[in-house]
């Protein structure tokens, strides 16, 4: 009987100690929360820089902008939670921010490359077209000038007064 009681007592003590330790194992401290929020802020900054470069190249970044806006809201919530000491929510929002912009740097870089290539092709086409156009203009312009000059001189000749009789 005594042994059974002792066993139950030790079991209850172990369970009580475990119940104290489990929350400690999963609780987020302020350093972890601050680190998560700072990382999310850094990720968002990098994503913005990549999107800004794509925009400078002339890409359509409206879809990427929408993701940035969503990530910005999450980061605002994360910062707010961090300030109020709600570390678990701070980490949660920080992760949501990072998830919202996952892969955005690569997408923006790809978009920038695609746009730059398209612009280079467009410039090449425009240059070739303009060169051909200028050559044609020179050729037809020269020929046109010759024809115009001929027509002008023939008209001028037609306007010469005729000498009929010399008065004595």
């Amino acid at each position: 009987m005594k042994l059974t009681c002792k066993r139950y007592l030790s079991l209850i003590t172990c369970l009580a100690l475990l119940s104290l330790l489990v929350p400690l194992g999963f609780a987020v401290n302020s350093n972890e929360a601050a680190e998560a929020v700072n990382q999310a802020a850094a990720d968002l900054g990098s994503a913005f820089a990549a999107v800004a470069e794509a925009e400078q190249a002339g890409a359509n970044i409206s879809a990427l902008m929408a993701k940035l806006d969503v990530a910005g809201v999450f980061l605002t919530q994360a910062q707010s939670a961090l300030r109020t000491g709600d570390y678990e929510n701070a980490v949660s929002f920080a992760h949501a921010c990072s998830d919202a912009i996952e892969g955005m740097v690569a997408d923006a870089a790809h978009l920038k490359l695609t746009t730059e290539k398209a612009q280079a092709d467009s410039f090449l086409l425009a240059t070739i077209g303009s060169s051909v156009g200028l050559v044609l203009l020179c050729v037809f312009g020269f020929m046109g000038w010759k024809l115009l000059k001929k027509w002008y001189l023939s008209r001028l000749m037609d306007m010469k007064p005729e000498i009929r009789d010399v008065a004595e």
Binding site: G45, F48, E55, M65, G72, R83, Q119, L148
Partner: protein, 199 residues
């Protein structure tokens, strides 16, 4: 019309035609001068006009304003708006030196704006845990845009203006991709409040 005039007219026509033919190439190469680059930061009253700003406030009474940011920098911009609270003795940002206020922000907004775009947000706020003790008013907290911030500000009675004055101000910061950090964009707007006991 003599031959020289005809020749001149013909050459001018050819020059105009050549410019038209060259225009697609010139469009890629020539960049037109851009206008002035700047950002905007503003506060509007509860009716979205530059009037009717809250001034006499008391504990627990909500007030509404509109905070706005405009981008005219000619490119995509990433702004951060810091919300700060000060009493009469604490420093504002120094616009001359371009230095922000050293006070800690109580809230912030992250805003991404394309060129010529604007962002405007309705904000509701109220002062909480306000107590008066002689010529000192202590403000424990500020409920701002649905978030509670413990501010613990003390406003001393201003005998000249007859009131306990506290100021809410907003600083505009701009992300600089070169340094991967925000810089104070030398713009701030503020609102003075007179804390009264009577709602």
């Amino acid at each position: 019309m003599n031959c020289a005039d005809v020749k001149l007219a013909y050459m001018l026509s050819c020059i105009v035609l050549s410019l038209i033919i060259l225009s697609p190439t010139l469009a890629h190469v020539v960049s037109f001068p851009e206008g002035e680059k700047f950002s905007e930061l503003w506060i509007l009253g509860p009716n979205r006009m530059a009037e009717g700003y809250p001034f006499n406030v008391s504990a627990g009474v909500p007030h509404r304003i509109y905070l706005g940011v405009g981008n005219h920098l000619g490119k995509l911009a990433y702004y951060k708006v810091y919300v700060k609270l000060r009493n009469q003795s604490e420093p504002l940002p120094n616009s001359t030196a371009g230095v922000p206020s050293p006070l800690e922000p109580i809230h912030e907004f992250h805003v991404f704006l394309a060129d010529n775009a604007t962002w405007e947000r309705e904000i509701s706020f109220s002062f909480e845990q306000v107590s008066f003790n002689g010529n000192v008013c202590r403000i424990g907290g500020l409920m701002f845009d649905g978030h509670y911030a413990a501010v613990d500000k003390v406003a001393v009675w201003d005998a000249e203006r007859n009131g306990f004055f506290i100021q809410l101000f907003f600083e505009l910061w701009l992300y600089n991709a070169d340094i991967s950090d925000f810089e104070f964009h030398n713009r701030h707007v503020n609102l003075w409040f007179n804390m009264s006991t009577v709602p």
